[in-house]
Symmetry: C2
Subunit: 271 residues, 2 copies
């Protein structure tokens, strides 16, 4: 018997009524304060994925992180906003101590046979097996949940080398620890696993956090399962750090060049 | 006295109660069926912008287009989900004939004095004055609301030239018609004004439409007002067309190189 993966535990929801459930933060995904945002994103996505009325597969997920989530329990509720022939829209709320701490919109859809074209191609990268994983040391629990094999743009936890801002671009093989066969839950979490750009660019940790995250899933369940537990290639970059807010854009690839997801996020930082 | 701009009319909401209002589609922004999605996005954003409890300025807007909007009236309702010291989260619903036709999440924030860094730079482009506007002909009303000065990647309404897919990249000066001083409403609409990528790539119009649109605003009200009615530079591209769904990513720039917004969207297409 295989032990359950901590991501399955962290995203477990216990039904309490009609499209309401309780969940709890999990120490394996603890962040500086409260949980890793990717675990929260996966939890909200799971509420929809496990709903018997869900059609097709997720194609888009937007999560807003509205306030701090304290370690402990929370309530999740979700609404089927509209279901068409092939596309279905949901919203999800996460409430803790009577306050909304996160919201999500989830779009599910039945993919169809169609004309296909893939103008974006995977960035060149050496095979994951040849790239040593980052030594996370004793840092935050959620960082221990991933093997980060940086080819370019590692986080600068100890301060940026040299003068001026470093490049905001990272190229990195990512995989769950312990190993986990890729699915929508892990992919949703992985889309938030790029360490906040400002740590790399500025090398000056300070108050910071993701405010909103949008991920588009470009591959179906079979294509994810076919990845097995192999590392996926992530590339992340940023356009701007301004007025206390920054952005990030990222894409995630199967090692044979199949685009799995693209993602953007807005985050805050304070001096 | 200056006549009101049609975008102001198209986004007008008439209060009917506590954070509820009615609006109506406007013929000036008519699309193939129902309104141009950018006008809908601007309408949902306006509900929040005009709310007296709103703090700061919008930094992120996600709109989901849940179903067709028929020409005519609709109801809009909005909820203040959470307000922190500097960041505020809202959700908005647009309902027509008892069905949710669109939802939005809006993040507002007070920008602060902070460290600043702008790694992304505006693509090189000839001045707008030297680029002739696209001849829209008698096409859809909403297309008449914009001057599209394509430098690269015009839509292929009459079929793509040559064999195989065309580049998904467009570079284009965009401005409101009639002229309008840039603000968050027009910028929200402009972020959806790139003509759906598949028309350009495939040159084969068919059923298609935006499903969800996320726009990050990277400039404040003053920076937008300083643009006046000058054309802004837009660049759009796509990563994938697969299973009946496609993506788009775009950025919008003031002509002096200030990044105004970045935007992504997912759309459907049928053969």
């Amino acid at each position: 018997m295989t032990a359950r993966h901590p991501l399955d535990d962290a995203t477990t929801l216990t039904p309490t009524g009609e499209r309401t459930a309780t969940g709890a933060t999990h120490p394996a995904y603890a962040n500086m304060a409260g949980p890793f945002g990717g675990a929260t994103a996966a939890t909200l996505l799971r509420a929809v994925l496990d709903d018997p009325a869900r059609i097709g597969e997720p194609i888009a997920l937007t999560v807003t992180f509205c306030g701090p989530i304290a370690d402990g329990g929370f309530e999740v509720s979700w609404i089927e906003k509209r279901t068409g022939r092939t596309v279905q829209h949901w919203t999800v709320d996460l409430v803790q101590n009577g306050k909304v701490a996160a919201t999500a919109s989830v779009v599910c859809a039945r993919r169809t046979e169609s004309w296909e074209h893939r103008p974006a191609t995977m960035p060149a990268a050496p095979a994951a097996a040849g790239v040593p994983p980052l030594d996370i040391g004793a840092r935050l629990a959620w960082l221990q949940r991933y093997a980060f094999r940086f080819i370019e743009g590692p986080p600068q936890f100890a301060g940026a080398p040299g003068d001026g801002p470093q490049s905001a671009r990272s190229l990195c093989w990512l995989s769950d620890l312990p190993e986990r066969t890729l699915d929508f839950l892990s992919l949703a979490a992985l889309s938030d696993a790029f360490i906040v750009r400002i740590i790399q660019v500025r090398g000056k940790p300070g108050p910071m956090g993701t405010i909103t995250l949008t991920t588009y899933f470009h591959a179906g369940a079979e294509a994810l399962a076919a990845n097995g537990a192999r590392p996926i290639l992530g590339v992340a970059d940023a356009n701007i750090f301004h007025g206390g807010f920054a952005d990030q854009e990222a894409s995630l690839w199967r090692d044979d060049g199949v685009l799995l997801a693209t993602s953007v996020q807005a985050s805050f930082y304070r001096d």
